[in-house]
Symmetry: C2
Subunit: 472 residues, 2 copies
C-alpha cells in the first residue's frame, strides 16, 4: 500500500517553456527543424533526467521536522476539517433518519390549539398603548412643567407595566413555550425602548439647562428638543430596529423591493431549517436523556456532546434569521441606515469581545443607558460591568423562566458565569498574546458547555415540575 | 434569549490613555488635582457618552451583507470547526465505549499463532541473497564483458524472482493478513531497488560510451564507474531509505541518539494508536456492514461515511509512522541526508500534485526509471503518465490481492481511477484559478470515497470467498 507514484517531475515542467520557445521559432521552417528541436529535448533529457544522474543531491529535512511547518499555509488542513465535518454530519443525518424517520409534524408551527392562545397575541398588540402613555407624559411635561421626580415615577410605572402585563398574561394563559418566549422577547424589547425614550428626553432637558449656563458646548442634535416629541417620531422609533432613541436617525433613500423579497425567502427557509433541526435532532436527544446533574456522568457527557452540534446549528440559525435577516428586513422597510446589528463575533478572541460584538442593539443600549450612567454616578468600571451583566441576567431569566413557569435561575447563573470567564479569557489573551486561545475557549463554552447544558437543565426541570399543570 | 449585553464601549478604551496621561502628571501634586482629573473625565463622559448623544451616526452595512466579509480573517470559523470535530469525535468515542467496551486484545500484534508463520520471516530474511546475485552479475560484467542483452536477462530473472518467491511463500503458508502485506511491501521495495541498481549501472556504461565519442559533457558523478560496484555500496543502498541507486549520497555527520530514541517512542505510540483505532472502530463497523455494491444503498452510504473517519485517522497514522518516523529513523541510523520523503501533500490543489508529493521515494523512482525512459523512447507525456499509473496499480494489487488470496482488481482500478480524477482536478484548477476546489475534491476522494470503499470491498470479498480456506 505504500507504493504510490509519479506523474511528471517538477523539472519536466521547467524544461517545457524552453522547448516551446524553440519550436515556435521553427514553426515556419522545414521538417528537419522540428526533428532538431526533438534532439535538443532529447539531449536535455539525456543529461538531467537519465538514470545515471543522482536523485538525491543535497541534505534536506522532512517537512514535519522543519520549523518551516509553522509558517506554511494550512489551508489544506482546514479543508480536511470541513470535509470530515460534512462526512460525520451526513452520516448522523442518515442514521437519525433510519432510526426515527421524518419526525416533523405539519402542526409544528401552527395548529388548532394555537387559536386558544389569542390572549398572547392580544397582549402583544396592546403593548403599543403604553408607548402612547409615554408620549402623553412627555407632552404633558412640555405644557405643564411637571417636576422630574413625577416624570420618573410615571415613566417607571409605564415601562414596568410593559413587563408585568405580559408576565401576568403568560402566567394566566400558560401558552406554548414558543409563544411565551416570543411575547417576553417582544415586551422586553418594548421596555428597553421605553426606558431609552424617557432617559434620552430627560437628558435633552438636562443638556438644555447646562447650556443655558455654559454656551461653549453646543450640538445641533440637542437643540431641537422639544420638537422631537412627536407621535410620528415615537412611532418610527418603536418600529425601527434599534433600542436607542435619538431625535433623528441615518436614513436610506429607497426600499430595494427585490432584495427584501430575497431576504424574506431566506428567512422562511432558515426558520424552517431551524424547526427541522429542533424536531428531528434536538427533541429526540433530549427526550432520551436524564437530568445532567443526576445519574451517570459519562452518560451525561455523551448526551451533552450529542446535543452540542444541533444546538449550535440552531443557535447559528437564530443568529442568522434574527440578527441578519429579520433586522435587515425591518431596517430596509423603515429606511433605517445603520445596519451594524452585529460585528464579527465569531473571531472574538475573548469572551468580553464576544459580548461586545454579537448583539449590537442591546450592547449600544447597555453602554448608553446603564454603563456610562453608572460611571457618571461614580461607580467603578468593574462595578458598572457587573451591573450590566446582572440586568442582562435578569432579562434572560425572565425570557425563559416565565414561559416555563419556573425560576431555577439557570439562565441568570449562565449569564453571571460570563464574568469570571471574561476575566479568564482576558488574562489568557494578555498572557499568550494570541487570539487563538481565547477564541477556542469562547467556542468551547459557547457551543459545547453553554447551550446544551442549559437546554437539558431547563427541559428536565420543566417536565419534572409538579407545582404547575404542564401544557406544551 | 436575544438579549445579550455589553461590557464597555470601544470609545471607553479610547479615552483611557488620555485619562492616564493626565493623572500621571498630577501624581506628585495635591488631592485637588486628582479631583480635577475626575472632572475632565466627567465632562468628557458628559459630552460624548450621555444619553442625548446619538447612538447611530452614519450608514453602515451588516458584516454578512458587505463584500468585506470575503477579505476578512476566518480564523474563528476554523477554530469552530476544530471544536465541533473534537466534540463529535469525543461523543463517538464515548458511545463506542458504552456499546462495545474495550475491544483490544493482548494478542492483537503477537500471539502463539505468529510463530507458525516463520516461513514469512525466513523469506524476508533470505531476500538479500538476491541482491548478492545482482552484485555478482555486475562484477562479472566488469571482468568478462557480458553483452548487455544477457545482463538485462539476468537482472530481469533476479528482480522478478524477488517478487515471485514471496508470492509463492504467501500462497503456500497463507499467513495472517498483516504479515502477508508487510512481506509484499518489503519484496516490492526490494524489486524497485534491484531495478534501480541494474538500470543505473547500465546507464553509467552508456554514458561512458557516449563520452568516449563526445567529451563535451562530463560529470564527476559518472566518472567513478566501475569503482562504485562494491559490496559495501550495494549494502548501503539496500538499507538506505531510498529506491534510487546512485554512486554516493548526501550524508550527515553523526547519529543524534536522543532524537532517535524520541522517534522510536513516537513510533510505538502511533503504531499502538493505529492498532487501537482498527480494533475499536474499524473492525466493528466493517463486521456490522453489508457488501457495499449489494443491498440497501442508503445503508451502504451510512457505513461508508461511518468508516471514513477512522480509516482517515488510520491513514494519517500510517503516513506519520511510515513516512515520517520510520524513514527518518532509518535515515538517521544510515547517515542518510536527504530526508524529503514527502512534501506538504495535504495542501495539494490537484490530484496530480498529491501523487507528486505524498510518497517521494516512489515518486523519484517512477520519474527516473519509468517516466523519463518512456519519454526518451518517444512515448508521449500522457502515455508515460498512464504507464506509470499502470505499474503503480499492478503493485498496489499485488500488495493487497496476494495476501488476501484473490484478484478482484479493486486496488488496481482504484489507482487507475486516479487518471480521470487527475484530469478533472487539473481542469477545475485551471478553470477556477483556485487551490481550494481541487484540494476539497482531493480530500473527498481521499478520505470519504477512496479508503472506506476499498476496505469494505476487500473485506466482503475476503470473507465471501469460498475457493480458498480462510485463515485470519
Amino acid at each position: 500500500m505504500s507504493e504510490k507514484e509519479s506523474v511528471s517531475s517538477s523539472n519536466a515542467s521547467e524544461e517545457k517553456p524552453l522547448l516551446r520557445k524553440r519550436s515556435s521559432i521553427c514553426k515556419a521552417s522545414d521538417s528537419t527543424c522540428s526533428s532538431d528541436a526533438k534532439n535538443v529535448q532529447a539531449s536535455k533529457l539525456d543529461v538531467n533526467f537519465r538514470a545515471s544522474a543522482p536523485a538525491h543531491k543535497r541534505l534536506r529535512e522532512s517537512p514535519l521536522s522543519s520549523d518551516a511547518i509553522f509558517h506554511q499555509s494550512h489551508a489544506g488542513l482546514f479543508n480536511l476539517c470541513v470535509v470530515i465535518l460534512v462526512a460525520v454530519n451526513s452520516r448522523l443525518i442518515i442514521e437519525n433518519l433510519m432510526k426515527y424517520g421524518l419526525l416533523i409534524r405539519a402542526g409544528f408551527w401552527f395548529s388548532s390549539k394555537s387559536i386558544r392562545e389569542w390572549p398572547v397575541l392580544m397582549c402583544g398588540l396592546s403593548l403599543p398603548l403604553l408607548a402612547l402613555c409615554s408620549y402623553a407624559v412627555e407632552k404633558m411635561r412640555i405644557y405643564f412643567h411637571i417636576p422630574e421626580s413625577i416624570m420618573s415615577l410615571l415613566h417607571f410605572v409605564i415601562s414596568t407595566s410593559s413587563i408585568l402585563y405580559p408576565v401576568y398574561i403568560i402566567m394566566r394563559v400558560q401558552p406554548a413555550l414558543i409563544f411565551g418566549i416570543n411575547l417576553m422577547l417582544f415586551s422586553i424589547t418594548y421596555w428597553m425602548k421605553l426606558v431609552s425614550y424617557a432617559h434620552t428626553n430627560y437628558d435633552f432637558r438636562c443638556f438644555r439647562q447646562e447650556n443655558d449656563k455654559d454656551e461653549a458646548i453646543s450640538d445641533a442634535q440637542h437643540s431641537n428638543y422639544p420638537q422631537n416629541i412627536s407621535l410620528k417620531g415615537l412611532a418610527y422609533f418603536m418600529v425601527a430596529p434599534t433600542l436607542c432613541y435619538q431625535a433623528s436617525y441615518p436614513r436610506t433613500n429607497r426600499i430595494r423591493k427585490r432584495w427584501v423579497f430575497r431576504q424574506v425567502v431566506k428567512l422562511l427557509i432558515f426558520t424552517g431549517l431551524m424547526g427541522f433541526i429542533i424536531e428531528q435532532y434536538v427533541n429526540p436527544t433530549i427526550q432520551n436523556s436524564q437530568h445532567p446533574l443526576k445519574g451517570n456522568y459519562v452518560y451525561a457527557i455523551e448526551r451533552v456532546l450529542k446535543l452540542s452540534v444541533p444546538t449550535l446549528y440552531v443557535w447559528l440559525c437564530i443568529f442568522y434569521t434574527l440578527f441578519h435577516l429579520w433586522l435587515n428586513i425591518i431596517a430596509e422597510l423603515t429606511y433605517f441606515g445603520d445596519r451594524e446589528f452585529y460585528k464579527d463575533w465569531w473571531n472574538a478572541s475573548t469572551v468580553e469581545e464576544y459580548w461586545k460584538s454579537w448583539n449590537m442593539p442591546v450592547h449600544r443600549w447597555m453602554v448608553r443607558h446603564i454603563y456610562f450612567p453608572c460611571l457618571r454616578k461614580g461607580i467603578s468600571r468593574d462595578g458598572a460591568v457587573l451591573i450590566s451583566f446582572i440586568i442582562s441576567g435578569v432579562f434572560h431569566e425572565l425570557c425563559i423562566g416565565i414561559p416555563c413557569h419556573m425560576f431555577r435561575c439557570w439562565a441568570f447563573l449562565g449569564i453571571m458565569f460570563q464574568v469570571p470567564l471574561m476575566v479568564l479569557t482576558n488574562y489568557l489573551h494578555n498572557k499568550f498574546q494570541s487570539t487563538m486561545v481565547g477564541n477556542i475557549i469562547f467556542w468551547v463554552f459557547f457551543c459545547i458547555v453553554g447551550q446544551p447544558i442549559s437546554v437539558l437543565l431547563y427541559y428536565h426541570d420543566y417536565i419534572n415540575q409538579k407545582s404547575f399543570p404542564i401544557r406544551s
